[in-house]
Symmetry: C2
Subunit: 332 residues, 2 copies
Amino acid sequence: MKKITIKEIAKITGVSSATVSRVLNDNGRFSEETRKKVLDAIEKFEYRPNVVAKSLRTSRSKTIGVIVPDITNEFFAHIVLAIENLCVPRGYSVFICNTSESEEKEKMYIKDLEAKGVDGLICLSGIMDVPADVTRQQIPVVCIDRKPNNQHVIMVESDNVTGGYLATEELIKKGCQKIVMLRDERGVSPMQNRYVGYLQALADYGLPLDKNLVINVQVDVFSAKRAITELIQAGVAFDGVFAGTDWLAFGALMALKEHHVQVPEQVKIVGFDNITVSQFSSPAITTIHQDKAKMGETAAKVLLDIIDNGLDHVKTRNITLPIELIRRETTG
Amino acid sequence: MKKITIKEIAKITGVSSATVSRVLNDNGRFSEETRKKVLDAIEKFEYRPNVVAKSLRTSRSKTIGVIVPDITNEFFAHIVLAIENLCVPRGYSVFICNTSESEEKEKMYIKDLEAKGVDGLICLSGIMDVPADVTRQQIPVVCIDRKPNNQHVIMVESDNVTGGYLATEELIKKGCQKIVMLRDERGVSPMQNRYVGYLQALADYGLPLDKNLVINVQVDVFSAKRAITELIQAGVAFDGVFAGTDWLAFGALMALKEHHVQVPEQVKIVGFDNITVSQFSSPAITTIHQDKAKMGETAAKVLLDIIDNGLDHVKTRNITLPIELIRRETTG
């Protein structure tokens, strides 16, 4: 028996996949003519509901699970809020699970959400490999921010390469020649991409890469403060800092203030994320705006689309959202 | 048949309720002698498991639901993290639900968590009335921060009255005579209690209450900034601000800076919560520390205790946690 998909039925009958799905689920609007056409095609081509299991589950739990590495991180919290704001009005409950960056907890929660019969999962900046038993179960998974190694996962992320480029370019255009980059020591994909942008900007503007100015730190304010303090104390010359997150930028700012280095006169700073600390610090921090609301909303839309219409329905596996340079006082 | 409780069995056998519970569930450590004693008593007094349903449910879901009004608020996020940190090592999954301060969403989530068979609920700063169908279902509920109207809910909160008192006293001791209070316009219970502390301190130090200095605002930074700007523009004299939250304190600080009023020389400020904005603002904000980790941990412990041993087992229905004055630059 030929395994025909919803998409093929749609093609044959000349209606959209969403309409085929609506007819199959007897849910939503369609004409009597459409219904007949679709049901005829289904009979003729022996379409079997279990071929595209997701699109035809009749008893949905109407629940989405969201896996978050750190709920106290404002960046993640705003993405989660956007997911919530999109899903709840469409009748879905959103269960948020905090993993404290623990792979063990992440696996536990994924299993547990599965056992509770969630219709889909959104993983924020999760572990490198989505467990095989999840992907086997065909529960739709959409990842945000950090790219897992699995090939077939749908991914939503900011354009981190361009972000890193714009941040570095801003410093160069304002006269910086020796630009420190503070980056997450774990080498996660978004930070790697920001580093690529940094390298490209240096190359484009003919500045040499000084490996001593590329500093790997834990992503917290005090690690960044310590790293910049050490540079100052070691007498390393630098006139710009591109910090991989706003909190790292703030830590750098603290160290510079403490050592009476004038910002932006002597050293300029650009952060990343555009969270409140960059807006409200003094001086306010120039940063790269990640559209957190759009990230959450996009991931949620794609997930609900897969739940309703099957994975075949989704055209783009990698969705990259534009970022924006926000100029503030640290490069003023 | 006499309805005997675990507590009574414990009394009769001379072991703790927790031990009786462990024997009944055949879970954890106890001696053979203890087991015999407990089981004998159970037989003799015809103890029936369904008398204290919670303590004997054999098929637990091992899941806790947490209802949060605003996941992007650092204060709540840290409480949630503490709940998570306590429950997960004890084998519980924690499902977090964000309500965006919507009563409708809160009710939806409570129903949904119930339907998923959670063993207990923790409500952070929730609605005024826990729905009757929840309390009827006998799912244990512990509330944090805001007190609902229901009588029989277990409540964990900071000592907000003393907090309000210490904040006001700090301003008075540093020489302030005309102290503005910025408070949440919704009149929620923690803010009411902070106001009571403010009133008591004024009275104790013989300062008159000036109703024009008690300002109701929305709890966001810009509302506070606007309120203080209006006071300055109206020419109202004041030399201290007790802000009901750190974000309100930060908004007040922004307004004062913008109008070139020196802090702390001309106006002193005390906030509430001790979240990062108070630590990292410039000048750093004196505040009242709420022990967020302890609040989450305490609520989680009580909830797991009720799940294991029944509501009868809990001695205190109202748990008040101590607060602490953190002196920083705004009263320096």
